[in-house]
Structures are given as structure tokens and as C-alpha cells.
């Protein structure tokens, strides 16, 4: 867990440091009573101080032996099923524009149910098709008929 904490702290400090690089691009208006840089600078600098404090605390904290190890935390987080689902979802979002909303949604729904199912057979395929058809009808009614939205 200590390694995970340090990893988070590193990510956090880098994130705020990158945000800090944008502060110099802000300029003040002469008539303004309060500098427009004040609040962003406060957020970034206090945030960075927090990050450094937490990093120091984690580095010098005692009793970390009982906490779960990095591999114990990260292995379930990156297990095959979760990553497959995430991959399919990212592909779906990327495919929406070129393939079209309804087609990509139907394919994602059918594919995800079929791939994630513990058993893959004709029955599962039939259920996947039925669920996909149901969700497509719902989306069509909701977006096109009810909200009158333009689908990509």
C-alpha cells in the first residue's frame, strides 16, 4: 500500500506541477482589485504543499508492513475481465463517430455481453441480441423521439 500511496502522490504532484506551468500565462487587468492569479496560485501552491507533506508522511510512516503490497492492490485492478470491459468500452466510444451511434452501441452491447459471459453458447447469443435490440429501441425513443437529439 505504501508503494501505491507513493505512486498516487507522484501522480498528484506531477499533475499540479503541470497545472502550475499554466499560471504564468495569466495576466492581470489593471482595474481589477483582486489579482486573477491569486486563486489559481493558491489552489496550485497549497495543493502542492499537501502533496509534499503526504509524500513525506508516507515515506516516514511506521507500521506499513501490515498493509497490502503493490501487487495485491494492482493485480485485481488490472485483471483480465476488467481490462477487457474497459478496452471494449474505449473502442466503443472511439467507434461512435466513424461507425455511428446506433451501430456501435448495438455492437458494443452484444459483444460485451457475449464476451463477458462465463459460458458462450447460442442461448447467451440470443439473450445478447435481445438485450441489444431492447437498449437500441430505448435509446432511439429517448434520444431521437423524446429529446429530438442528432445522433453522431
Amino acid at each position: 500500500m505504501r508503494a501505491t500511496d507513493l505512486f498516487f502522490s507522484a501522480f498528484y504532484i506531477i499533475l499540479l506541477a503541470v497545472a502550475g506551468t499554466q499560471l504564468s500565462q495569466l495576466s492581470d487587468i489593471n482595474s481589477a482589485e483582486i489579482s486573477s492569479k491569486l486563486y489559481p496560485t493558491l489552489v496550485v501552491s497549497i495543493g502542492l504543499i499537501m502533496g509534499v507533506l503526504e509524500t513525506v508522511r508516507v515515506l516516514f510512516a511506521r507500521g506499513g508492513e501490515s498493509l497490502p503490497k503493490l501487487s495485491e492492490v494492482w493485480a485485481p485492478a488490472f485483471n483480465r475481465r476488467r481490462m477487457t470491459l474497459l478496452f471494449l468500452f474505449v473502442v466503443y466510444l472511439i467507434a461512435i463517430k466513424p461507425v455511428g451511434f446506433l451501430v456501435s452501441t448495438g455492437m458494443f452491447c452484444f459483444g460485451t455481453i457475449f464476451i463477458l459471459s462465463p459460458q458462450r453458447n447460442l442461448r447467451v447469443a440470443a439473450i445478447s441480441i435481445a438485450v441489444s435490440a431492447g437498449i437500441l429501441s430505448l435509446i432511439y425513443l429517448l434520444l431521437v423521439v423524446y429529446l429530438e437529439a442528432f445522433l453522431p
Binding site: L16, Y39, E54, V73, P118, I139
Partner: protein
């Protein structure tokens, strides 16, 4: 107060609005009953759908979802030993053993009636406290509002897990940082966009909220695919179920204590039903003459206490949201998003400018609980069926509905990509055991903090002294400071005492 109620009644007691509340409750119950799907997720799914609805119709629907989803958690907790929502975590401890002894209708009845009574009493607290607090809040200046934002973050930090307080603050700063992205209305310049024009309008709150909550939750839920959970088979008899009402009334002391705990915890910003049910259970055990029987499923009060408290938190959590614009928990944060989506900013002015909407909230809260009670009497077997739907069908459907919801807000793919981006951030925080709620609070309260700080400094000619010298703002900041400093000092002193005695 009466005029608010009458104005609200004109909107709520219409056939279609009542039907919307009923459907909201039913949908919320189903989602809340499915383990892993929280009330926050239920509201997140519904908020975009309400975009095209008039607010007088949308708010009752969402109140129905909110009440149904929090209450729905008890079914999974009692019959599966898995809480449907974190709000029912303590219900498992005695509800499941009671059901396993063949007393499932009793366990369900105790949980349902205590939920409904707790929820209704918290509704009364909401109706009585909110207008008073709103009147007081009207006298607040920017100093007090800024102090309240600080207090909110200190609350989240103080309530976080041991050793994770600074992490909660760091999460809040991520949210505050993300809120900086886009156009600064005061100076008219864009900031933190890294040259991307898409970022100039900033991050829309709802895709961020939905992404941070839904994606990590659904990814984690995919672990349950293929797992066969053992649902207790029950022979549901309505008579046996209704007989527990008398048992609930006989334990009025436990019921009132838990309700009070729930309301108070609900009012505290950033914490809600997830904590109140645990505190209420432990307090009931402490007050019991037979604490050794807790966990065995024998005592009625051990099932009632957590359920009364988690529902009581709902009314409590709505109080700061309506009167100050500060959400009491993640679900009210979503409700806040819904108000903002309809162009209404909750706060003390809401009571003056949109009294009818406040009345709608009050009345639909009570109506939702009434429908919830009715549904539980007649549709429990159906709710049981809902919890046994295989997860592989639920997860992709919910991901698609979230995507559709984010897209339909502005009809642009940028919001969908933001939803994914925030989802990945939420998943990283989930792995790192960093709470997500402070990020969202930072994102929503960031603009308010900036505006109020600028105003306070401008009014005070650059001086920060009024923050400490004004009685209300000074007191709020003092409480915030104490809530941060006292817990580690008390822990240190306790530790020292134990070492000495050893």
C-alpha cells in the same frame, strides 16, 4: 412554510407527476437492490433524461429515484448478505442471520417500516429546519460562504479512513484544480486549457460526476460476473410482513435515536447514509441491555437501527443542499447537478425566488416514501428477482445509458470523452483508495470558493482578517480547524495512555 407546501402541492399532486414519482421509486428500488449499484448511480442515470422535462416534473421523479434507491439496498442486505448500497452495510449484520433463520418477512418488515418512519421523520426535519436555515443563510456574506466551503472539505477529511485525511484533501485539490479549467468570468481570460479550445468552456459537472462514479463502480462490478450468489428463498406472506409494524413501534426509543443520528450525520457536508447506518448500529448496540445478541439476528432493533438512520440521512443531506448549495452526500451532489442542469442554483435565494420548487422537493419527498412503502408491500418478490439478474447484462446496459446521458446533455462527443476521462481518473483513485467525493465537491464548490474569496477580499480591501473576526465565519473556521486537529491529538493521547498503562 405553508405557502411553500401549497405551491408545491399544485405541482406534485398531478396524475403524471405522481406517476413519475411512482416510477422513480420503482426504478430506484430495483437499482438500489442490485448489489454494487448505488443511489448515486441511479440518480446519475436519470439526471440527463430529465433534461427536456420541466423542473416541476423532473425533481419529483429524481426524488422518487433517490428515496427508492437508498431504501432498495435493504433487500440485498437481508436476502443476499450483500448490501445493495453502502447505506445498508450494517443491515447485513443482523438482517441476514434473521432471514437465514426462516424469518425473512420479519427482517424485511422491520427494515422497511423503520426505513419509512426514519425517512418521514427526516422529511419533517427538512421541512422545519430548511426555511429557518435559509433565513439565517440570507445574512451570510462571502466570508461565511468561503468558510462553509472550507468546513465542507474539513468534514470530508475528518470522516475519512484513518491515515487517509490528507489524501482526501489532495483529492479535493484535484477537483479544485479541474474547476479552474476554462474561462475565468471575472478577468475574461481562459486558463489551464493547454491550448485546447475544447477545454475553454470548462468541464461540465454531470459527465464528470457520472464518470467518476459509474466507470470505477462498473469495472469493479465486473468481478461479480459468473459468481452465483445464494439468495435466501422466502415464502413471502403479507400478513407476517405487516405484523412487524407493531414490533417497530414498540422499539420507538431505538427508532428515534437512530433517526436523530441519521439526520445529524446527513446534515454534515460530504457524509451521509454510508456512515450513519454504521454509527446508528454501534450506538444501538452500546445502548442495548443484551449487546451479545447483536449479530445473531434475534433482536428487532439491530435491523431497525441502521435502516432508520440511512433513510433519515436523506432528509438531513437535503438541508445543506437546498439552503446553502452544499451537498450532504454523493446522492445530493447529483441532485445539486440536476438543479444546476435546470438553471436553478440551490441556496438561500432558492426559498425566496423559487418557493414552489422548494415545496415540490418537500412534498415529493413524503410522497416518494409513501409509494416506497406501498411498493414494498406488494412487489417484494419482484425486487428479489431484480437482484438475481446476471451482472453481464446489467454492466454494458448501464455503461451505454451513462454514455447516452452524457451525450444528450449538449449533443456533443466532448462530454462523452470527458465522461471517459473522469472515469479513468476515478478508477485510478479507486485503486489508490483515495475517496472520489472530495474531487467532485472540489469541482462543484471550486467556482463558488473562488467567487466568494474574491468578493470577500474586495469588500475587505484585501484583508483576510474579516474571515476570522466575523462571528459566524470565525466560528465555522474554528470548527473546521478543530475537526482537523482534534482527531489526531485524541488518537495520540489515547495511544500514550495505552503505552503508559502497559
Amino acid at each position: 412554510m405553508y405557502d411553500l407546501m401549497f405551491q408545491g402541492a399544485a405541482h406534485v399532486f398531478l396524475p403524471w407527476t405522481l406517476f413519475a414519482i411512482f416510477m422513480g421509486v420503482a426504478g430506484g428500488l430495483v437499482i438500489g437492490a442490485i448489489p454494487g449499484l448505488t443511489s448515486t448511480m441511479a440518480i446519475a442515470l436519470m439526471v440527463p433524461v430529465t433534461y427536456a422535462m420541466p423542473i416541476e416534473f423532473a425533481i419529483p421523479l429524481l426524488m422518487g429515484v433517490y428515496c427508492g434507491a437508498i431504501s432498495g439496498g435493504l433487500v440485498g442486505a437481508i436476502l443476499l448478505n450483500i448490501p445493495g448500497t453502502p447505506a445498508s452495510a450494517s443491515t447485513c449484520l443482523d438482517g441476514y442471520p434473521m432471514a437465514a433463520k426462516g424469518q425473512a418477512p420479519r427482517a424485511l418488515g422491520l427494515a422497511v417500516y423503520s426505513s419509512m418512519i426514519g425517512g418521514t421523520l427526516s422529511g419533517l426535519a427538512l421541512v422545519l429546519i430548511s426555511p429557518l436555515l435559509a433565513k439565517i443563510a440570507l445574512t451570510f456574506g462571502p466570508w461565511e460562504y468561503f468558510a462553509l466551503v472550507i468546513f465542507t472539505f474539513s468534514c470530508i477529511s475528518a470522516m475519512s479512513e484513518k491515515g487517509r485525511a490528507i489524501k482526501a484533501f489532495m483529492a479535493a485539490f484535484i477537483g479544485l484544480g479541474l474547476a479552474l479549467v476554462g474561462l475565468d468570468e471575472a478577468s475574461g481570460q481562459v486558463r489551464m486549457t493547454f491550448g485546447f479550445t475544447a477545454f475553454e468552456s470548462g468541464f461540465y459537472e454531470l459527465p464528470a460526476l457520472i464518470g467518476l462514479y459509474a466507470i470505477p463502480q462498473l469495472l469493479a462490478d465486473s468481478d461479480d460476473i459468473g459468481r452465483t450468489s445464494k439468495i435466501l428463498k422466502i415464502n413471502f406472506k403479507l400478513r407476517e410482513f405487516t405484523q412487524t409494524f407493531g414490533e417497530v413501534i414498540r422499539h420507538k426509543r431505538d427508532l428515534l435515536r437512530s433517526t436523530f443520528i441519521g439526520i445529524i450525520i446527513g446534515i454534515l457536508p460530504g457524509v451521509g447514509p454510508g456512515l450513519s447506518n454504521i454509527v446508528a448500529y454501534s450506538q444501538a448496540k452500546r445502548a442495548s441491555k443484551t449487546p451479545e445478541k447483536y449479530g445473531t439476528g434475534e433482536l428487532a432493533e439491530s435491523v431497525m437501527s441502521p435502516e432508520a438512520a440511512n433513510n433519515a440521512s436523506m432528509g438531513g443531506a437535503l438541508i445543506p443542499m437546498l439552503t446553502l448549495g452544499i451537498p450532504g452526500d454523493a446522492s445530493t451532489l447529483m441532485m445539486l447537478g440536476a438543479f444546476m442542469l435546470h438553471g436553478i442554483d440551490p441556496g438561500p435565494l432558492l426559498f425566496r425566488d423559487h418557493g414552489d420548487i422548494v415545496g415540490v422537493v418537500f412534498l415529493s419527498f413524503f410522497v416518494a416514501f409513501a409509494f416506497c412503502t406501498v411498493i414494498y408491500h406488494f412487489f417484494i418478490p419482484l425486487t428479489i428477482k431484480a437482484i438475481s439478474v446476471p451482472r453481464q447484462y446489467v454492466i454494458p446496459v448501464l455503461l451505454i445509458l451513462c454514455t447516452v446521458g452524457c451525450y444528450s446533455l449538449n449533443n456533443r462527443m466532448f462530454d462523452v470523452y470527458c465522461f471517459l476521462g473522469f472515469g479513468l481518473l476515478g478508477y485510478f483513485l479507486h485503486i489508490s483508495r483515495v475517496p472520489v467525493l472530495p474531487v467532485i465537491l472540489g469541482l462543484i464548490l471550486g467556482p463558488m470558493a473562488e467567487e466568494q474569496l474574491s468578493l470577500a477580499l474586495a469588500f475587505g480591501q484585501g484583508s483576510i482578517l474579516p474571515f476570522f473576526m466575523r462571528p459566524v465565519s470565525g466560528s465555522i473556521l474554528l470548527v473546521a480547524f478543530l475537526s482537523l486537529v482534534l482527531p489526531p491529538i485524541i488518537t495520540y493521547l489515547r495511544h500514550k495512555k495505552i503505552l503508559k498503562s502497559a
